[in-house]
Symmetry: C2
Subunit: 133 residues, 2 copies
DNA sequence: AATGAAAGTGTTATGATATAACGGTAAGTT
DNA sequence: AACTTACCGTTATATCATAACACTTTCATT
């Protein structure tokens, strides 16, 4: 959100769908939403192209371990995002990695590796699911 | 390696293929190897079943961002593995996360999240590729 | 306003990754 | 032997993602 770049209609539709869902959706799950189909998006590629742009803008992140996409719930961030993913309810919590990514970059440097980006996905149980046994 | 569980023939073949490759391979890349086909493995599911077992044993890890699998090059580890992945030559470096995963678990706990595991994949440039401009 | 470059789109087809369902086999336990 | 568990082969199918092509929209420059 909050980035002032004019999105095309397709991009707006996909962005709205993800924001509205409040959880990760696969490209095909997005495609199957009524609100998406009713707006004329009916081919996978249409969805993927919108997602590609939205990810480039940082408004959407890809969750590798789910092959899914989620709306960013932070302001545009320079630091890479990271996620906690509940194995029970599939909810995700985005958290930022200001100090963490610095420490990882340093660690990588010790192996002669020049860090450009990272994906961190923590799996486990969210507060609600953990307390429900 | 180094874990004394008796592997089946299929599992041995897949494990050997990955160890020999020394880099991540997709299930279908494994399937296409002569040494694999010559041993009678000829269906994707055969590969996936062997991989599933090898991952459960911790002898193989999945690289989410590549949809690929790689032989573990550490002794069996309790801490989750993490990887640096070169964007140029696709080589991977496994590193362990003893202190890091503790710090991440603590961070997760502050969000009420109970960490069970994690995937950390750092992208960038390995020493060889970085020095070659 | 005309021109031209860059980005976006629709459509069709295809490629790449992963699992379901079934019945059968091998090996260990009692 | 009877039972259990893991494993296997085969076929079909589900799921995720991109290639190729022709066309349109957008917008800065002239
Ligand atoms: Zn974000
Ligand atoms: Zn949950
Ligand atoms: Zn390992
Ligand atoms: Zn490299």
């Amino acid at each position: 959100m909050a980035k002032e770049v004019k999105l095309t209609r397709n991009q707006q539709v996909v962005m709205a769908a993800l924001t509205d869902a409040g959880q990760p959706l696969s490209a095909y799950q997005i495609l199957d939403l009524e609100v998406v189909r009713d707006n004329g998006l009916k081919a996978p590629l249409t969805i993927y192209r919108a997602l590609e742009k939205l990810m480039a803008l940082g408004q959407v992140h890809r969750i590798e371990s789910l092959n899914a996409f989620v709306a960013c719930d932070h302001e545009p961030h320079a630091e890479p995002a990271a996620f906690m993913i509940c194995q029970d309810c599939r909810c995700t919590i985005e958290f930022s990695t200001t100090s963490l990514s610095r420490s990882i970059a340093r660690h990588a440097g010790q192996h002669g590796f020049q860090m450009a980006g990272m994906h961190l996905e923590v799996s486990g149980h969210c507060e609600a699911c953990a307390s429900a046994h």
